[in-house]
Symmetry: C2
Subunit: 304 residues, 2 copies
């Protein structure tokens, strides 16, 4: 199976601390990098993670609060200094252009590449990017400003050819692709072999959902049903659930309840409020509801 | 003597590396903090240095290149989240408002304090701030965009009273301040004691100059004559002096020559280009011209 990883660059919330940086992650799939959120310091975290900027062409912002986007203009500027020439696509809620264009106009005049900004819907789920390897779909979230999550689903791989059958039936090389795509094979003496006899099924396509920042929204569970890895913000603990609701955030317990309803295979917590000293409290709370949970942490790389 | 320190938060140049962060320093004098430049990640470095944000009311930007100011909006935003109420004064070249106001308008609506922006002259030296403790004067620099350095000079302390003379002459408490300010004393029997016999001189006022980014400008030496500590950018080594000139930067050798001409007591190098692997090369080059040189480094605290 090809690599499908999530690199955690920052998983704190609005107030950066000595333990956590503001939000940023990089999804790495089949050699391509997709950034989700870009808080202050993201470019430095990228370097520490030895991620190759050249493989990053798409950045997805959940919303336009500073702790999710203050690193963007620095990153764009650095790409310019490095002589980047390929387009950079930035996706984010309505307001993206109003927030970013003045900064680009002032600080990034004359960079040798184009920044293409895409304002996406935060009201309904829509596919905002797709290529041969992956599709990226927005998940509507509810926060104090327009906000969406992103679902990364790898493209379904073709099934594996059964090499021994191919050799036995002397199937020529040119026919292999058609068989992978679903056809069967008829031998010279007219015997038909169904597609299913010639292949073994491909691994199921994997998916990663990033949901931050948001109030607890159980109705979203169906949109990320069966996801292999779910990142759900857990800014607060259950004892502060009133504060969570007031500020349009979630608790660790709510993140776990969401994971359960979504039938997620695993849950990653993050976006921790600076008010708590011990991240383990988030984990304990989540595990009481959904056992397969882990804590995001700067430098962590998770296999989807 | 009261503390007069420079905290190095970042001393790299435009491209951040795993070794150096973009430019920022904090000058600490008599309990007050003055920030010079504010590259991306500055607020995190402040926290690491245990500097108290509440004591920071003045930020001086040398110029409006991203590696000197991309941390500002994040810092301003964080102050807002922390409930700051006192004014924050930001000084910088013409363009400061055009560069920063759109970001404040978008990201810092409703912060509970006022950001006062002061555009300063980069053509001539002028006092831009002064209180009982310190004055801050611009030093015109030559870079690709309007740019100035800043000279921090502590206010001259009053001389020390000679306690034994005071006791011997039975000088009353109420007269002490006048004597410190320059008066003498006449005893009841009409004998006059001159000011100089009643006091020992105060320590000379100390000064720190921050000069970055700039081409080598020996004519500026007179403006920082005799400074206790001089920070002079040394983006390049002498072997790349042509490149230094082209990009309006200096070499370590030029920084040292400047320090010599300015009769600086000590020199601190910084703003190292990411092209060099070993900072010691800057130090060796500078020391061949001016011996009392040190290297800036993140986390370093220098007594002026």
């Amino acid at each position: 199976m090809e690599k499908f990883q999530v690199h955690i660059l920052g998983c704190g919330s609005a107030l950066p601390t000595r333990h956590h940086l503001p939000s940023s992650q990089v999804v790495s799939l089949r050699g391509k990098l997709f950034m989700v959120d870009c808080g202050e310091g993201t470019q430095l975290q990228c370097r520490k993670s030895h991620l190759k900027f050249a493989n990053l062409n798409h950045i997805f912002l959940s919303h336009l609060h500073g702790d999710h986007c203050f690193g963007l203009v620095g990153l764009i500027s650095t790409f310019g200094l490095q002589g980047r020439t390929s387009d950079l696509h930035v996706y984010g809620p309505v307001g993206l252009k109003a927030a970013m264009q003045p900064q680009l106009d002032f600080f990034c005049q004359g960079i040798p590449y184009t920044v293409v900004m895409h304002e996406v819907s935060t009201k309904q789920s829509e596919v905002v990017f797709a290529d041969r390897s992956v599709s990226v779909t927005t998940i509507p979230l509810k926060h104090r400003v327009p906000c969406c999550g992103y679902l990364f689903r790898e493209a379904q791989s073709l099934p594996h050819i059964k090499r021994d059958m191919i050799d036995y039936l002397k199937i020529p090389h040119y026919a292999i692709n058609n068989i992978k795509e679903g056809e069967g094979w008829t031998t010279e003496d007219g015997k038909f072999f169904a597609h299913e006899r010639l292949v073994t099924p491909a691994e199921p396509a994997r998916a990663y959902a990033y949901l931050s920042d948001t109030i607890y929204l159980p109705e979203n569970a169906k949109l990320v049903k069966g996801v292999d890895l779910l990142f759900h913000e857990s800014t607060f603990l259950d004892k502060d659930k009133t504060r969570a609701k007031q500020t349009f955030h979630s608790t660790a317990k709510q993140a776990a309840e969401f994971a359960k309803q979504a039938d997620a295979k695993s849950l990653m917590l993050g976006h921790y409020s600076s008010r708590y000293d011990d991240d383990q409290l988030f984990l304990e709370e989540a595990k009481s509801v959904f056992d397969n949970a882990i804590l995001a942490n700067e430098g962590l790389v998770v296999e989807v």
